[in-house]
Amino acid sequence: MSNKNELITADDETSDSDFISRLKRPFIDFNNADRSGRVDILGRLGLFIPAVASTLIIVLVLAFLWVESATIFGDPSGGIGIIINPTWDPNRDMYGIAVFIVGSLMCTGLAIGIAVPLGIGGAIFLSEFCPMRLRQPIKMIVEMMAAIPSIVYGLWAFLVLVPVVKNNIAPIFGSDSNGLSLLAGGIILAIMLLPTVVTISNDALQTVPRSLREASLALGATQSETSRKIVLSAALPGVGAAVVLSLGRAVGETMAVLMVTGNSLQIPYSLFDPTYVMTSIITNQLGYAFVFPLWRSALFAVGLILLIMSICFTLTAKLFIKWGMKTRGYI
């Protein structure tokens, strides 16, 4: 036992703050973590491999996408400028992907804009105002919504939502849209995000201790004030996590969006204009593009940008959550 302690302190002394030893630190710690038995080595190895694998996968995927899209980024007709070039015409070797980036951002923004307020509202109702007997059944139904395949959402949206947009919503705003639109994509995506937002936010709200609610009520707050100003505020990091997860799903969602957004190569100027999102262009054209190196590479570039966007969203949201935890004294 004492031997082990000595070993660890010895390691501590050698760890200067320079970069290499900071890199080595986790491995030394890992090595020292449990010296009690030789048998454990097997177990530790067995756990080390999945841990490394799961971190390596993202690196490998990024590398693969980079290699595949290198052709278009290196070509004179492509280059990094394709990100801001709105003309996509493979026949003329023009591979501007700005249309898809804008389409994806708008669709995601719209979906988040609808799903987050609705979902948080639903979660607050479930955790604060819902009669006990109703809570479990409602939760179960909402969770079941998450199990519906996205193609089924797409079919429903195509047959129900699109006509509703065409006949009921668009005329109000004086638009003669055929229903296949940014709005339809945003709404169906929002519906698909709702269960994630509701269940995860609800879990976060329910972990807020009852004593905080009582303290607020005892100061003369109404139940509504308590749930908005105390419970929601205390659960904000958890609610943020719900938003992160739904963001990831929103940018990456393919089928349902592809079926209802009209897939038209233009930047939408109104909610009723059709749009083309990044996932849709890959799905639609990969089959034809496979034998044309530039075209194919451009599609992989779309995938790369999509992944980078998604990572950026997640990191930003994580920073926000961390900030939230700090100001609340959780960490």
Partner: protein, 254 residues
Amino acid sequence: MPEFKHQIEVEGLSTWFGKKKILKDITCHFKDNTVTAIMGPSGCGKSTLLRTLNRLNDLVPSFKRMGNVRFRGEDIYGVGSSVYDLRKHIGMVFQKPNPFPMSIRENITYGPKLHGTNDEDDLEKIVESSLRKAALWDEVKDELDHPAPNLSGGQQQRLCIARALSVNPPVILADEPVSALDPISAAKIEELIVELKKDYTIILVTHNVQQAFRVSDQSAFLYLGELVEFDETKRILEAPHDERTEAFITGRIG
């Protein structure tokens, strides 16, 4: 406003959770500007009595009640009495420190803001005076914007007292406020309670006879939901009339 002798008067109060009767026909008057201790073994209904006084039991669906509780002469369970007004006038400190997960300043300004104080200068004054009354100002005045949960347990509890004082309630209910704290922090809070009775009427739930002796003027002894004795603390502890009280004081039941 009807005439009233004391801020809080309880008359013939019985309460139930579901079918279980918790309090049995309790009648007592809490004198103003004193500390009243409610003593008794665990499960005797001390906390229930306390929470009936600011209607916090209303949150429990199975809660039922008979009898009257009057605050300043008005029945608090009567038709047309506002529970929010009532709770504004009756502050509460809980067993475990429960600061809101926000900054120290926001913890104090939460109550006043709820009740319509929005002027920055006024809020600033309230923050300082509340923290001073709770003997916490000198320790935290430079870190008012730090998160409250980072304070020590004792400081958190004093912050909770300051938070209760922030809306200036004439009555403060304290539900075993020191039982989750270390002895030094506990002693500080006991001192604080004695200090505060000059301006506030304090009702303190405790299962600790010594504590009741140190801080309270009157004591109520509850046993199995019955109010066994209610008198000056000194009298009760020196010469209990009832043998159950004596058994509790000497430690035979508890």
